[in-house]
């Protein structure tokens, strides 16, 4: 979920990689990725990326209720960055979307990661949506909280009050099935990690449930990107220490330096396109409360913005 750090996280990862296992980063799974056509082909490592690329952001509940190797991805967001036109498109994939999994069978798409890790999540999205994914970033609950705190919080215009009487109290509680009341009020405000997490994770008080929180997740991603532009090199060690083992990514070090100049170059909020696959792109009635995709509408949309 918190993955839009794509703009700045590469720098942090470079520091982490070089200084030794502060963050558990999955080795670049070259068997999972076809070569990235434009970015990876550049011969000068420090040259800014000029070709478009697509990243799959994955966010999971990874508290003690779950086996750490078999978590669901409650949040799946495709992000396409087009440096030449300074356009960013975010497409939230409903976690309950009923699809063919790359590992076989049909199920909610959030299960792909639990069956086969990031490779299966990527392969499932690629096969069902007909897109090419260059890289992925996965983050857990505490990782998002810690990251937002490490960057000093974010400014978000929260679109609506988020009131939830049954918000999971599973991050800091000794009993992960406990719940708590939360109230994140509306309007422009500075959110710390805990409250940002409450804002993007809560769904009980939203008539749109998972779709509603997908909208909120995109708002927070935009805010994280905005804050990323303020980061300087001396912020990176603190960030790496803060996030601990809560992040995995395939972004390799050669891409790191080339992504950096992008962070400052996207200034126009109107250049960020936000897509939610609500009705008529999806509709209920699928097994287990999942959503049927309307591929006849989804695929043209995806092909338009994720060519």
């Amino acid at each position: 979920m918190a993955g839009t750090f794509a703009y700045f996280l590469p720098a942090a990862k470079a520091a982490w990689d070089a200084t030794g296992a502060i963050v558990r980063v999955t080795p670049s799974p070259t068997d999972l990725f076809t070569p990235s056509p434009s970015p990876s082909a550049t011969s000068t490592p420090a040259a800014a990326i000029t070709g478009a690329f697509t990243i799959l952001l994955l966010g999971s509940d990874d508290d003690s209720k779950f086996n750490s190797d078999h978590v669901l991805t409650q949040s799946m967001i495709l992000v396409r960055v087009v440096p030449s036109t300074k356009e960013v498109t975010m497409l939230s994939i409903p976690r309950d979307l009923y699809v063919h999994l790359s590992t076989g069978g049909t199920a909610k798409i959030d299960g792909a990661y639990s069956y086969g890790g990031p490779g299966a999540a990527i392969a499932t999205v690629e096969q069902d949506f007909g897109v090419h994914i260059d890289d992925y970033i996965w983050v857990g609950l505490l990782g998002l909280v810690k990251l937002i705190d490490a960057i000093g919080g974010i400014d978000v215009v929260t679109s609506n009050p988020v009131m939830d009487d049954y918000y999971p109290a599973d991050i800091y509680s000794s009993w992960p099935y406990d719940f708590q009341r939360v109230a994140v009020l509306a309007g422009a405000q500075h959110l710390d990690g805990v409250h940002a997490m409450q804002y993007v994770r809560s769904r009980h008080g939203d008539l749109e449930s998972d779709l509603g929180r997908s909208r909120r997740q995109q708002q927070v991603l935009i805010a994280i990107r905005q804050k990323a532009k303020q980061l300087s090199p001396e912020d990176l060690p603190g960030m790496s220490q803060a996030i601990g083992g809560e992040l995995k990514t395939s972004i390799d070090i050669s891409k790191v330096a080339r992504m950096l100049p992008l962070a400052a170059s996207f200034d126009n909020p109107d250049s960020i396109r936000q897509i939610i696959l609500a009705s008529p792109y999806t509709h209920g009635g699928a097994p287990g409360g999942s959503l049927y995709p309307n591929w006849g509408l989804i695929l043209p949309l995806v092909h338009q913005y994720f060519p």
């Binding site: 960057i151 400014d155 679109s159 405000q189 300087s232 090199p233 909020p269």
Partner: protein, 381 residues
């Protein structure tokens, strides 16, 4: 400047790659600036300066209420969950919300922060076992009559469902919550009705609801709208459209203008004003679009509007002030006067046009605080 930062970052990555642990440890010893915590208003430097606001302004940070008078902050409550101060109509007392773990209550305080009376009691006896049994109250305001307390209250929660949409309530200021009555229904799984502003005969408030319920052309997502209701139990009526996405109304001292924040459904937050005739709003004017504005509050003497906004991009919220001249139409400029001179036979000299008047800019009053931007300010004249 920003570009050079990232160039620097790129260089650092290379250095780290070759420098390893030594570089990392060196950098770890440096103080990060993005995560620097806000200072308490009473300790912040520089102190509020440049413009001294009239009267006393009450605002909150980290659960404490601060009073700003004569350019200096004074902490009047401990950091104990205090928020949302407002003033009684005669200006003799404060009202404020105090948060508990899963509830919030309204208190009356002296102007110097001493609690005088707890008005509501929203902590459920078994509320720690079942948090949903507790209640929230937000944005208390006493009407001009001095006897009616308005607030946002989640008193319409149903058993066995998840909806916690609060509604607009009123109750006798000297009474109990049992005497409270709902003026609105709070909507349905949308965030409810918030922040009532008492007016003559009713209240303006912010309704959060799905915009396409009210405008067939609006998208199906939750928008904010200003609404007005003048009868308990009625739905009231819209003052702004879902597309404008306006919220947090503030009534001018003369009662003829409303300041609000409008976002147009984006991650922007414009300061907007409109005339108010007691039942409807006039055309909206966006008077500030360059900042992420929150909680606009009119100066009691009409000299301007205070608000919260980040001091730096993506930073904590600071106190700002927009002088009246920024949004009040200026008198027409006098016609240019000819340059004086003696009799001559040639053409008259070209009149010298007056220099253009620079636009009035908002004034940032603090630089290193972190005010609660969801908590309105109270301003005593």
């Amino acid at each position: 400047m920003m570009l050079s930062r990232f160039v620097l970052a790129a260089v650092l990555v290379v250095i780290v790659a070759f420098g390893g642990t030594t570089t990392f440890m060196y950098l770890s010893s440096k103080q990060t600036h993005v995560a620097a915590p806000p200072q308490k208003p009473t300790a912040a430097t520089p102190r509020a300066q440049a413009t001294t606001l009239p009267g006393a302004l009450y605002l909150t940070q980290s659960g404490a209420i601060y009073r700003l008078t004569a350019g200096r902050f004074h902490q009047i409550t401990p950091e104990a969950g205090w928020s949302m101060p407002s003033l009684t109509p005669d200006g003799s007392q404060l009202l404020a919300v105090k948060y508990g773990q899963y509830w919030s209550d309204v208190y009356t305080l002296s102007l110097f922060g001493a609690p005088l009376r707890q008005i509501t009691f929203n902590q459920a006896r078994t509320g720690m076992l079942d948090p949903s049994l507790n209640h929230w109250i937000f944005y208390p305001r006493v009407a001009a009559d001095g006897v009616t307390l308005w607030m946002t209250y989640d008193g319409l929660k149903c058993d066995g469902c998840y909806d916690v949409s609060p509604a607009i309530y009123s109750m006798p200021y000297g009474g109990t919550i049992r005497q409270a009555r709902a003026w609105t229904d709070g909507g349905y799984y949308s965030g409810g009705d918030q922040q009532p502003i008492p007016t003559a005969g009713g209240a303006i408030y912010t309704k959060y609801d799905f915009g396409d319920k009210y405008d067939a052309n609006a998208e199906h997502h939750i928008s904010a709208m200003l609404w007005f209701t003048n009868r308990a139990g009625s739905y009231g009526r819209e003052l702004t459209t879902p597309g404008e996405d306006c919220r947090t109304p503030s009534l001018s001292p003369a009662g003829d203008q409303v300041a609000m924040v409008c976002t147009y459904g984006k991650q922007v937050s414009y300061l907007t004003i409109a005339s108010w005739n007691g039942s409807s709003l006039g055309p909206r004017t966006n008077i500030l679009t360059s900042l992420l504005v929150a909680q606009p509050t009119w100066a009691p003497d009409g000299s301007g509007i205070a608000f919260f906004a980040p001091g730096v991009a993506a930073g904590p919220f600071q106190l700002w002030f927009l002088p009246r001249e920024a949004y009040t139409p200026r008198p027409p400029s006098p016609p240019p006067t000819p340059t004086p001179g003696g009799p001559h036979n040639g053409p008259l000299p070209t009149p010298t046009p007056p220099p253009p008047i620079p636009p009035v800019q908002p004034i940032q009053l603090t630089t290193s605080n972190g005010f609660d931007a969801t908590s309105p300010m109270a301003w005593l004249g």
